[in-house]
C-alpha cells in the first residue's frame, strides 16, 4: 500500500472525502452567516442556536406529530425562519444603524436564552432521531465505507449553497436585496418595502442554519447545546472567507473541512484549533479575508 507521511493512501482518500462532507456542512452554515452580515451588517451570534432549533424541531415534530424526514427538511427551516423574522422584527430592528458589535451582543443573548430554556425542558443527554429507512446502509468505495446519508448530505448542502449563491448574485430578487440594503431610501422610493425585505433576509439566513440542523439530526446527537460548539468554528470560516462574501463562505467552508480532516489524521488533538491558526495567518496576509472586499 502506498503511504503518504506514514499514512496509507486509502486512509488519506477517506479522510479527504470526509473533510469535503464536513466542509459542505460548514459551507451551508457559514453561508447563512455571510448573507446576514453581507446584506444586513448583523453579526449573528444566534446562528448556532438556530442550527440547534432546526435539529430540535425535527426531532420534536417527529416524536409528537410523526412528521417524517422529508417534511421536516422543509417545515423545520420554515418554522425557524419565522422565529428569525420575529427576532429581527422585535429585537434587531431596534438597533439598526448602531455599531455592529451591538448586534453581536444582542444575538449572543438571544442564543443564551434559547439554549437555556430548551436545556431545562429537554436536558442535555440528547434526543434520539432514527436514520430514515431509505438512507440506512452505505456503499463500499474500496478505500472507505460511504454511508448513503453522508452522500446525501453533500449533495443537499451543495445544491442549497449553489442555489442561494445564484439567487443572491444572479437574479433580480438578489439585486433588489443588495440594492435595498445599500441604499434603503432610494429603494423605498421605488416602492419596495425595505423593512420587510430585511426581515425576510434575516429569516432566510437562519433558515439555512436550520436546514443544516435537519441534515445533522440523524447523525449527531441532538442537544440544546449542539450549536454553541459549532458557532465559533463557523464564524472563523466566514471571517477567513471574508465577512459578507457569499461565494467566499462556500469555498472556505469546504476548504476548512478538508484542512480539519487532514489535521484529524496527522495531529488529532489540534483539530479544534487548526481553523483559528489558519484564521490568524489569513488575516495577517489578507486583512479582509480570502474573498473579502476592502470596505
Amino acid at each position: 500500500m502506498s503511504m503518504i507521511f506514514g499514512v496509507p493512501m486509502a486512509v488519506l482518500s477517506g479522510q479527504l472525502l470526509i473533510g469535503i462532507i464536513n466542509g459542505a456542512f460548514y459551507a451551508l452554515l457559514s453561508l447563512g452567516l455571510a448573507i446576514i452580515f453581507g446584506l444586513l451588517k448583523i453579526i449573528n451570534f444566534a446562528h448556532g442556536a438556530m442550527y440547534m432549533l432546526g435539529a430540535m424541531a425535527t426531532v420534536i415534530m417527529f416524536d409528537a406529530l410523526d412528521v417524517n424526514y422529508w417534511v421536516a427538511l422543509f417545515l423545520a427551516p420554515v418554522l425557524v425562519g419565522i422565529v428569525g423574522v420575529f427576532v429581527e422584527y422585535f429585537l434587531l430592528r431596534r438597533i439598526a444603524g448602531q455599531d455592529h458589535i451591538y448586534s453581536l451582543l444582542l444575538t449572543f443573548g438571544v442564543a443564551l436564552i434559547m439554549q437555556g430554556v430548551l436545556t431545562n425542558i429537554y436536558g442535555v443527554s440528547g434526543l434520539r432521531y432514527a436514520m430514515p429507512d431509505m438512507f440506512k446502509g452505505g456503499v463500499n468505495l474500496g478505500f472507505m465505507f460511504m454511508p448513503y446519508y453522508r452522500a446525501w448530505v453533500i449533495v443537499a448542502a451543495l445544491l442549497v449553497c449553489f442555489g442561494t449563491w445564484f439567487m443572491v448574485e444572479k437574479t433580480k430578487l438578489g439585486a433588489y436585496l443588495r440594492a435595498g440594503t445599500e441604499d434603503s431610501q432610494l429603494m423605498q422610493g421605488f416602492g419596495i418595502n425595505v423593512p420587510l425585505l430585511v426581515s425576510l433576509t434575516y429569516g432566510f439566513g437562519v433558515m439555512l442554519a436550520a436546514f443544516a440542523g435537519v441534515l445533522a439530526a440523524p447523525i449527531y446527537s441532538v442537544t440544546p447545546v449542539m450549536g454553541s460548539h459549532i458557532l465559533i468554528v463557523v464564524f472563523a470560516v466566514v471571517v477567513i472567507g471574508g465577512m459578507g462574501s457569499i461565494g467566499g463562505a462556500i469555498i472556505t467552508g469546504i476548504l476548512m473541512g478538508v484542512v480539519e480532516g487532514l489535521t484529524k489524521t496527522f495531529y488529532p488533538p489540534a483539530s479544534s484549533a487548526v481553523i483559528f491558526l489558519v484564521m490568524v495567518i489569513v488575516l495577517m496576509i489578507r486583512p479582509h479575508g480570502l474573498f473579502g472586499k476592502e470596505s
Partner: protein, 331 residues
C-alpha cells in the same frame, strides 16, 4: 459691563461649579472607600475578593473597549495567563513570596498582550475582534495541551503564602486588604491614564480614527500601548484570582469568559470609570444569587435576557444612563 467682565464672571461660575463637583466627588469617594474598608466585616470576604478581581478585569477590558474603541474578544487569554503563571510559580517554587508570583504573572500577560497587539492592531472593527478571538483560542489550546496547567482538572492547591514574606495571606482579612489595595491602585492608574493627554488621544482615536491620523498621531502606537496596559491589568486580575481561590482553571481561558467581561462592561457602562466595577459586581452577584436560589437552572437564560435588555434599552449601561440623567435634569 464689558465683554471681558462677563467672560470672567462666566469663568468664575464654571470654576465654582467645578470645585463644588470636585468636592462632591471627594466626599463620594471617601464614603465608597469607607464602605470598601468595612465591607469584609459584613459580607463574606472571599466573595468580595472575587468581585474585586472581576471588577479589575472588567476595568482593564474597558480601558481598551470603552476608551479606545477596540473590542477584544480574547481577553480571557490574559486572565488565564496571569492565573496559570502565578499559580504554577507559587506552587512549585516555595522560595517565592506571593507578590513576586503575582508580578511574574502580570509580566507574562503583558508580554502576551504585546504579541496579540502586534498581530491584531492593524485590523479594523469586527476583524480585530475575530483575530483576538482566534489568538485566544490558540492560547486556550496551549493550556489544554500543557501538563503544567493540569488540563481539564485545573491547577489546584496554590499556596497563598506571605506578602513580602511578612503578612500571612491565609487569613481572609489580610488577603482582602491586599486585593483591595491592588485594586484601588489599578483603578487610580486607569483614572490617571484616561484623564492624561495620552487618554485624550485614545478617546480621539475612538471617536474618529482618520482624523487622529491626519492630526499626525501615530495611532497604531497609541493603540498598542493601550492594548498592552489592558492585557497587563487583566493578567494581574487573573494572578490575584489564582491566589485568592488557590486555583487556576481552563474556565478562565474559555471564550465564554471573554464574552462575560463584555457583558460586565456593557451592563455597568462602557467608557465610564465606575461602570465596569458596578457591572462586575452585578454579574458576579446575579450568578451567585441565582445559582443558589430556586431559579438556579435559569442562570443562562437570565444572563441572556440581561444582554438583550441592555443592548435594547440602555446601551450606555447603568452608570452611563445615570450620568445622562444627571446631566439632563440636574447639571
Amino acid at each position: 459691563m464689558s465683554q471681558i467682565d462677563i467672560q470672567s464672571s462666566i469663568q468664575k461660575t464654571i470654576l465654582k461649579q467645578q470645585k463644588a463637583e470636585d468636592r462632591r466627588k471627594l466626599v463620594l469617594n471617601g464614603i465608597l472607600l469607607m464602605l470598601l474598608l468595612l465591607a469584609p466585616f459584613v459580607i463574606y470576604p472571599v466573595f468580595l475578593m472575587k468581585i474585586l478581581c472581576f471588577a479589575l478585569f472588567a476595568a482593564a477590558f474597558n480601558l481598551l473597549f470603552g476608551f479606545t474603541g477596540l473590542l477584544s474578544f480574547g481577553h480571557a487569554a490574559f486572565l488565564a495567563t496571569g492565573g496559570y503563571t502565578t499559580g504554577y510559580l507559587l506552587s512549585n517554587y516555595s522560595g517565592l513570596t506571593t507578590e513576586m508570583g503575582i508580578i511574574a504573572g502580570t509580566l507574562m500577560a503583558t508580554v502576551l498582550g504585546l504579541g496579540f497587539a502586534l498581530l491584531s492592531i492593524r485590523r479594523q472593527g469586527i476583524y480585530f475582534a475575530m483575530v483576538t478571538l482566534a489568538l485566544a483560542q490558540l492560547v486556550f489550546f496551549f493550556f489544554v495541551q500543557s501538563s503544567f496547567t493540569g488540563g481539564e482538572d485545573g491547577l489546584h492547591g496554590v499556596p497563598r503564602g506571605e506578602l513580602f514574606g511578612l503578612i500571612n495571606l491565609e487569613d481572609n482579612l489580610n488577603m482582602y486588604y491586599f486585593v483591595l489595595a491592588v485594586f484601588l491602585a489599578c483603578y487610580l492608574l486607569i483614572q490617571r491614564i484616561v484623564s492624561s493627554p495620552y487618554g485624550h488621544v485614545l478617546k480621539a482615536i475612538k471617536q474618529n480614527e482618520p482624523r487622529a491620523v491626519s492630526l499626525g498621531y501615530k495611532v497604531d502606537r497609541y493603540k498598542v500601548l493601550a492594548f498592552v496596559i489592558s492585557a497587563a491589568l487583566a493578567g494581574l486580575a487573573g494572578s490575584m484570582k489564582s491566589v485568592v481561590f488557590q486555583l487556576a482553571s481552563l474556565n478562565d481561558a474559555h471564550w465564554h469568559m471573554s464574552g462575560e467581561v463584555i457583558l460586565m462592561t456593557l451592563v455597568g457602562g462602557m467608557g465610564t470609570l465606575l461602570g465596569p466595577v458596578l457591572g462586575a459586581t452585578l454579574v458576579v452577584n446575579i450568578e451567585y444569587q441565582l445559582g443558589q436560589g430556586p431559579l438556579r437552572d435559569w442562570v443562562d437564560p437570565i444572563l441572556g435576557a440581561i444582554f438583550v435588555i441592555t443592548v435594547l434599552a440602555f446601551r450606555s449601561g447603568i452608570v452611563g444612563e445615570v450620568q445622562k440623567f444627571v446631566r439632563k435634569n440636574i447639571g
